[in-house]
């Protein structure tokens, strides 16, 4: 039986360092080298100070669930077998918020404020996706 593939993120030139790091099991975000503000996903210009200069820096991968929803509609056929599934917004300890999924926890057990940490899920040779799993608080 043929499986419909989930959308694969485009590896834009800007995001290459992110995916390079993800393959190594590291979560990286952009850091403005002018004012130090962290941001994700990639942008060319810092929204805080408008600097064009940035570097990619590794973050802890720890954070908490800022919010989540539970998707009951299959907007894309590849997700049809998974509904209802949860999408979360994780607020990283370092500041940026990132959309992801939780692994190892049923949707109805997800709570705002739940402490989580990153894990990586290999999609193909080029792309590994950061996902999150519950962790002990602290």
């Amino acid at each position: 039986m043929s499986e419909i593939a989930k959308p694969v993120p485009a590896v834009t030139p800007q995001m290459v360092p992110f995916f390079d790091a993800a393959r190594q099991g590291e979560l990286k975000v952009q850091r403005c080298t002018e004012c130090g503000a962290l941001r994700f996903p990639a942008r060319e210009i810092c929204a805080e100070c408008l600097s064009r200069q940035h570097a990619w820096v590794r973050v802890s991968g720890r954070g908490e669930v800022l919010s989540f929803n539970i998707m009951h509609q299959a907007y894309h056929p590849a997700f049809a077998a998974e509904v209802p599934y949860a999408v979360v917004v994780v607020k990283l300890e370092e500041g940026p918020a990132i959309v992801s999924n939780l692994v190892g926890v049923k949707p109805d057990l997800i709570r705002c404020g739940m402490p989580v940490e990153v894990v990586f899920e290999k999609v193909n040779d080029q792309i590994s996706l950061p996902k999150f799993r519950p962790r002990a608080a602290g």
Binding site: K6, V8, H72, Y75, V87, A97, I98, V99, C112
Partner: protein, 390 residues
């Protein structure tokens, strides 16, 4: 220098709404709406010299929608036009732009138009669309589609969930808004849900879309067009319908991430608009609040100060905003139960109420109406204060 009551809404045109195929595209609905507004005001097409357009989703293919419409209906020698898009805040912003231009002597008679035609007639082999776009709302949240994040409801649900977590609001509270608006719609013959009552149990039984949103937390999908004609108060007094004066107007655009702010731009927009109008909250007789989701009403009522921040749930729970309640809100049924014409839905209903044309749903005291528009998930906001008297 204040623009208080310098201008007025002199004409209102509304096509049939919802699942109707009177026109094959949005431009057709737009033309009909403008014609209806001209007739309502007793004006000829040639008397229009300004045209502002907020194209709906199916009309965004041409970035120059107002030029589309000018050509499509043979309008000549306009002195003002623009295609505008602040999402759900656009309708209010168009009225503001029109009033400013009229006051500045740049135009005399400005049509502000919204139209959309997302519903298609049934086809034998319905070609269902594939992936939704998650990029529509200007929040960079990462690799959304890869995680199954599609559509605006899912984005809005993040904000609602966080709000409920922080303030303890419940689906009963959201449901109370859906029920109240349905009760208003049951009194409005033009509403898509005019004939269908709704209980809180029905609300809870409606399927989930993106938790915490049930289907009945979400606005309708509608084919239709709406037009209001703005002119000077002086000119409006000589026309067919009593003027609906624009007493105050303002905008507020928060920026930042609504999951963290949990607030709209209403406080900023209100400050400007209420000062211009010279009104306090206690002067507001009815409120037409932008309601793409039930949740939006809750937050907006708080942000205008009808109750404290975080208390929007209990505030709406006891029928306060329903027919017979102390604060009439979305008196035509809103976008949840009447029709979804973005920010033009609340503008339209406010005009009807201030004129006293509300029929069975007419509120008794209708001197001052508040109109809110909201777009980009609580990120853009417009406020109009409309009144019968200058």
């Amino acid at each position: 220098m204040s623009l208080r009551a310098k201008c007025a809404i002199a004409g209102l045109g509304a096509t049939r709404m919802g699942r109707n195929f009177d026109h094959s595209n949005a431009i057709g609905f737009a033309i009909e709406a403008v014609e209806l507004a001209l007739a309502d005001a007793g004006l000829k097409r040639s008397e229009l010299d300004g045209l502002l357009v907020n194209p709906g989703v199916t009309w965004m293919t041409n970035p120059m929608a107002s030029f589309d419409l000018q050509q499509a209906m043979g309008l000549r020698d306009l002195s003002l036009t623009a295609t505008m898009n602040l999402g759900g805040a656009t309708a209010g912003a168009m009225v503001m732009h029109a009033a400013q231009a009229i006051d500045a002597g740049m135009a005399n008679m400005v049509a502000c138009v919204f139209a959309d035609a997302p519903l298609k007639p049934p086809r034998p082999e319905s070609a269902k669309k594939g992936a939704g776009s998650a990029a529509a709302y200007g929040f960079a949240r990462g690799l959304e589609g890869a995680y199954g994040l599609f559509g605006v409801s899912a984005q809005y649900a993040f904000v609602a969930r966080r709000y409920m977590h922080k303030f303890g609001a419940t689906n009963d509270h959201l449901g109370a808004i859906a029920v109240a608006e349905r009760q208003w719609a049951n009194l409005n013959p033009a509403a898509q849900f005019h004939d269908q009552p709704l209980t809180l149990a029905d609300y809870h039984n409606s399927r989930w879309i993106a938790e915490p949103f049930h289907l009945l937390d979400c606005c309708l999908v509608s084919n239709g067009g709406l037009c209001v004609i703005v002119t000077s108060a002086e000119r409006a007094r000589g026309l067919r319908k009593p003027p609906v004066h624009i007493l105050g107007m303002g905008q507020g655009h928060t920026g930042g991430d609504p999951i963290e702010t949990l607030a709209s731009g209403a406080p900023i927009a209100k400050r400007v608009a209420f000062k211009m109008a010279g009104v306090e909250l206690s002067d507001i007789d009815l409120a037409e609040i932008y309601d793409c989701y039930t949740f939006t009403v809750m937050v907006t009522l708080e942000d205008y100060g009808f109750c404290n921040k975080g208390e929007g749930g209990p505030f709406v729970a006891d029928g306060r905003i329903a027919p017979g309640g102390s604060l009439p809100v979305n008196t035509g049924g809103g976008q949840l139960s009447s029709f979804y014409m973005w920010g033009m839905t609340p503008v339209c209903e406010a005009v009807i109420q201030v004129r006293g044309e509300g029929g069975e749903r007419q509120v008794k005291k209708h001197d001052v109406a508040l109109v809110s528009g909201n777009g980009g998930i609580l990120s853009t906001h417009s406020t109009l204060v409309l009144g019968a008297d200058a």
